[in-house]
């Protein structure tokens, strides 16, 4: 460890503060519904689907397509999740199915 205890406490506090800021800023800026600009209201409705897509990509950001196992376990895992979702319409079941298949693939096949 290089940073002293007081230094590391400051670093941790600043990282916590940065996180808290990003989480609270929208609620502080747009406190009352009447004063919230229409475009912000629109973004609030339009963003979730875009963000869910972003989070899937974010989870897969370190998958190497050109080397290693070429992201095949990830692709199969997602296909299993999708197939199970449309088959059973149960979110928990499809997540479990996809995760188990993925674990088997990376532990025993690839």
């Amino acid at each position: 460890m290089i940073q002293t205890v007081p230094q590391s406490i400051i670093t941790i506090a600043l990282c916590a503060l940065a996180t808290i800021l990003t989480r609270f800023i929208p609620f502080i800026l747009f406190r009352s519904k009447e004063k919230t600009p229409k475009v912000v209201e629109y973004l609030g409705k339009a963003l979730p689907a875009a963000l869910f897509a972003m989070l899937v990509v974010y989870c897969l950001r370190n998958t190497k397509i050109s080397t290693g196992n070429h992201g095949i376990p990830e692709l199969i895992g997602i296909l299993v999740v999708t197939a199970a979702y449309f088959w059973k319409k149960n979110m928990l079941v499809s997540m479990a199915a996809g995760t188990i298949v993925y674990m088997l693939l990376v532990q025993f096949v690839f």
Binding site: Q3, P26, G44, A49, A50, M103
Partner: protein, 256 residues
């Protein structure tokens, strides 16, 4: 539309709810039962990732208090992993703060999406905003809460459970991480699976998919251009520009 009038009616309903205290305590129990299963995938993912984080902190020579307090106070997975290196390099508070802001900037978009939902849930608001991780946001934003369930308590329980899993994992990883012998490789895929299912569920319940396409297009193209470590900020910028540029057709097509 008269916003004031709508607000007043909502308030009246809330007050009426508060009057019947017995009804409310039953609701909390049911809400607990409704919320818990929703967090099971996060339990698997957070306990696993938390353990990896706790182990990493221990092997780098940090005491037990470090991973646990960081998990509780900072509560942001990717930032905490970055902080391991941060704490082991020269003290640079300004750079640390700016880096943390960049890594966490996506939360601003989560907040914008939850402005409506987290309104009118009383003092719980402070905690649910504080504890809004990627996963908690996704569950709270995507769950269609039934009428017999108290929305505020639902958001609160999901936030609290997820937060607890993460802190528990970090502590357990530091304490007993080296005792885990079964092969957990690939368990972190549960988070990918969860976001995929939430996305599918969203797509299934809306008529047109313009905004999901914009999200996918922005993040994939920025990932290819900027690489895994730097693509979130450009993705957010691109999403914002596209969503505003296509506001008219999007509003017409899919938003109620």
């Amino acid at each position: 539309m008269n916003n004031n009038e709508v607000r007043r009616t909502e308030k009246d309903i809330n007050q009426a709810d508060g009057a019947g205290k017995e009804v409310k305590s039953v609701n909390i129990k049911e809400t607990f039962k409704f919320a818990f299963p929703k967090t099971l995938p996060v339990m698997a993912g957070y306990v696993f990732l938390g353990i990896s984080y706790g182990i990493l902190m221990k092997t780098k020579g940090f005491g037990f208090r470090y991973p646990v307090s960081m998990a509780a106070i900072v509560y942001g997975g990717s930032l905490e992993f970055v902080m391991v290196d941060m704490l082991m390099s020269k003290f640079n508070p300004v750079q640390s703060f700016l880096l943390a802001l960049m890594i966490q900037a996506r939360h601003i978009f989560y907040g914008l999406s939850m402005l409506d939902k987290y309104n009118d849930i009383g003092g719980k608001k402070i905690y649910v905003i504080f504890a809004m991780s990627d996963e908690t946001f996704s569950i709270n934003c995507s769950t269609r809460v039934p009428a017999n369930i108290d929305k505020g308590w639902f958001y609160f329980f999901v936030s609290l459970f997820d937060h607890f899993y993460w802190v528990f994992g970090a502590g357990a990883g530091w304490l007993i991480g080296s005792l885990i012998t079964f092969n957990t490789e690939g368990l972190d895929f549960v988070m990918t699976a969860m976001f995929t299912v939430i996305l599918l569920d969203k797509l299934f319940h809306e008529k047109k998919h313009y905004t999901a396409v914009i999200g996918a297009l922005s993040s994939i193209s920025c990932l290819l251009i900027f690489g895994a470590d730097n693509f979130l900020i450009p993705t957010m910028a691109m999403m914002l520009i596209l969503l505003i540029a296509f506001r008219k057709p999007i509003e017409k097509a899919e938003l109620d």
